[in-house]
């Protein structure tokens, strides 16, 4: 059954793409991809494929599948932001990470990777270390809320994977972040 999935997906996608009537479906496909790629490109292919099936089949159904990457992004809030050159968690960030903890409790099979990122105003190697420090700050707090340490790993991308392009304060504020991504493990 599982092996057949890609074919079903492809068929559903083709159907959506060929039929001009299902414009809503096409729209939600591209929308879904956009959300996914802004958090982590590694999940784009698998996550958006799954979404494609769902939106193509049920264009009117609202909301992502509970426990999915998209659920984490839209309903939980997948990221926390940091001040320049800092890794301190704000109270908003703590609230968000609290929701990560609840979500992980609700879906005990899920594990997450916490990605740490920095804005471009730092040297490449320092930013790798800073990103790791940010990801770790989020992880430590998550664990303090009772989440099993084995369910949250960290990775740093330094300044390599900005969420928002542009050399401006708004982009920088969005790029100094730690992002929870559903682990493929």
């Amino acid at each position: 059954m599982r092996l057949n999935l890609p074919l079903v997906v492809a068929a559903a996608f083709l159907l959506a793409a060929c039929t001009t009537a299902s414009e809503d479906a096409a729209k939600s496909v591209s929308g879904g991809e956009k959300v996914a790629s802004s958090s982590s490109k590694t999940t784009v292919s698998s996550a958006s494929t799954t979404k494609t099936t769902k939106s193509a089949e049920k264009p009117l159904s609202a909301g992502p599948k509970p426990g999915s990457q998209l659920d984490l992004e839209i309903n939980v809030g997948d990221r926390v932001l940091f001040d320049y050159d800092k890794s301190t968690l704000s109270s908003d960030s703590r609230t968000t990470i609290g929701r990560w903890a609840e979500w992980l409790m609700a879906y005990p099979a899920n594990k997450i990777i916490i990605e740490g990122h920095a804005d471009e105003r730092g040297t490449r190697e320092y930013n790798l270390a800073l990103g790791e420090r940010r990801a770790n700050a989020a992880r430590e707090y998550l664990i303090s809320l009772g989440v099993n340490p084995n369910r949250a790993k960290t990775i740093s991308f330094g300044k390599e994977r900005p969420a928002i392009p542009g050399s401006n304060e708004n982009a920088y504020a969005q790029n100094r972040r730690a992002v929870a991504v559903l682990s493929k493990d």
């Binding site: 190697e125 790798l128 790791e132 990775i155």
Partner: protein, 467 residues
């Protein structure tokens, strides 16, 4: 480049008119032997005449012309020489055996003259012979015969010849027969495709070493083998690792068995070790790994970020950056990790990516100060700081093997669509003069300069770093 050429042409035409005065000046110079004082803050490039090399026998015509051009281009890019427009040449000796008529070269203000020949040797080898003359002393400065086993590698003949000319006239060893590894970049900011790439120092013989499917960063050359160490994310859900890649046969190994992300690798000056950072639970420390015994040793234990380590050329010390004092600053320690002390004290700046000069006297760094990035140098005790260039982002200095030229990358501000950052490689003289772009096929960052190719040899570079 253009201003130098323009000035040179004027000088040539003036020299014809006021020849006697000029010749007197240079007659004195020639008694002291032809020397360029390369330590002056401002210097005038030395006019040098390099006619096309002659081809001896058949088949070498193309090589002869190309080799003399590459020699000329190298010397010109160094900023220390100004090759004279070939159209001004009056008569050229027909071979390296024929003594030039110096009267024909003095009016052009040519201080030095290079006459050369190229010929095809058996088994598709290629040879050159060239003579460097001091025009005003009317003397031979050097005469060399060089050959290379494959004519395909003809550029190395040209680079080596240029290195010899540079060395004889400046008194410093050359840096033209070298390569650069760096990161080629393309695509949108959010999904940047980065490839490990290698080229000659002048941008020729360009080659991609990875396919761009994995994010790769910060390559560095081994001083003793055709190997590089770099950082890669082969699985973007796993922490990146430091790898060792053999350029010749593409063999690759992961360096070390570390629980966390490893990054910021650099070879020891004897090429037997790699020093790097490992980040775990928010703390980054410096480790060294012996490539033969595979022993790993932790050198820093501070809970702050300690990264970007670089050995002194005698292997006795390591410079690194740390934010243990509250912001990114430079520190020096003994190579066993003892005696850690801060060396950057100027107020109001953050310092990163220190790299020890191959001469041992200076440390190059990236400085973030008043909203701009700078490339600078300081003495190894932290005194004598000089900023060489600045920009929106300038980062990652790397030294030419003679410790006289630095390469780095420069990146511009990007617009809201992520366009316009255009990272590119530049070289700059230690004096802060002569900044020049190295042309690459795509955007470029993270350059690392090799040693002279002829020095990359474990027999020549003995083990000097203690176990």
């Amino acid at each position: 480049m253009v201003p130098y050429l323009a000035k040179m042409i004027i000088a040539v035409s003036m020299a014809v008119v006021i020849f006697p005065t000029l010749s007197l000046v240079f007659a004195q110079t020639s008694q002291k032997k032809l020397v360029v004082n390369v330590n002056e803050g401002t210097y005038k490039p030395l006019p040098i005449a390099i006619p096309d090399f002659h081809a001896v026998g058949s088949g070498a015509e193309g090589y002869a012309v190309s080799i003399s051009k590459v020699i000329s281009d190298n010397l010109q890019r160094s900023g220390l020489f100004s090759p004279i427009d070939k159209r001004a040449f009056l008569s050229i000796p027909n071979s390296v055996k024929e003594r030039p008529n110096f009267v024909n070269w003095k009016p052009l203000n040519a201080q030095a003259l290079v006459i050369g020949e190229a010929k095809i040797l058996p088994n598709n080898a290629l040879g050159i012979e060239f003579v460097l003359y001091d025009v005003f002393a009317e003397q031979v400065m050097i005469r060399y015969q060089l050959s290379i086993s494959s004519s395909k590698a003809w550029r190395r003949l040209a680079h080596t010849a240029a290195d010899q000319i540079y060395k004889r006239i400046t008194g410093e060893s050359g840096y033209f027969d070298t390569r650069v590894v760096y990161i080629s970049e393309r695509g949108p900011t959010k999904k940047r495709k980065k490839r490990l790439s290698i080229m000659d120092q002048d941008g020729h013989n360009h080659k991609y070493l990875t396919d761009g499917n994995s994010l790769v960063l910060t390559p560095r050359f081994s001083p003793i083998r055709d190997e590089i160490t770099y950082l890669a994310y082969f699985d973007e859900q796993q922490p990146p690792r430091v790898y060792l890649l053999n350029i010749e046969n593409s063999d690759q190994v992961t360096l070390g068995t570390f629980p966390g992300m490893t990054f910021a690798p650099r070879f020891s000056p004897d090429g037997r070790k790699v020093i790097m950072s490992m980040a775990e639970r928010g703390n980054t420390d410096i480790y060294v790994m012996d490539l033969l015994t595979l022993n790993q040793k932790q050198l820093t234990t501070h809970p702050a970020i300690d990264t970007s380590p670089s050995y002194s050329p005698d292997c006795s010390k390591i410079v690194f950056e740390s934010d243990r004092g509250g912001s990114q600053q430079l520190y020096v320690m003994n190579s066993n990790g003892k005696n850690q002390r801060r060396i950057s004290f100027k107020r109001g700046g953050r310092y990163g990516t220190p790299v020890w000069s191959p001469r041992g006297d200076l440390i190059a760094f990236t400085k973030f100060y008043k909203g701009s990035f700078h490339i600078g140098v300081m003495k190894s005790d932290g005194s004598g700081e000089r900023l060489l260039t600045k920009g929106f982002i300038v980062e990652g200095p790397t030294w030419a093997p003679n410790g006289r030229v630095l390469m780095f990358y420069r990146q511009q501000r990007q617009n809201e669509k992520g366009e316009g950052s255009n990272p590119r490689l530049y070289s700059i003289d230690l004096t802060g003069h002569n900044e020049r772009e190295i042309i690459t096929p795509e955007d470029a960052s993270d350059p690392a300069w090799s040693r002279l190719t002829s020095d990359i040899d474990p027999e020549k570079i003995k083990k000097i770093c203690p176990d």
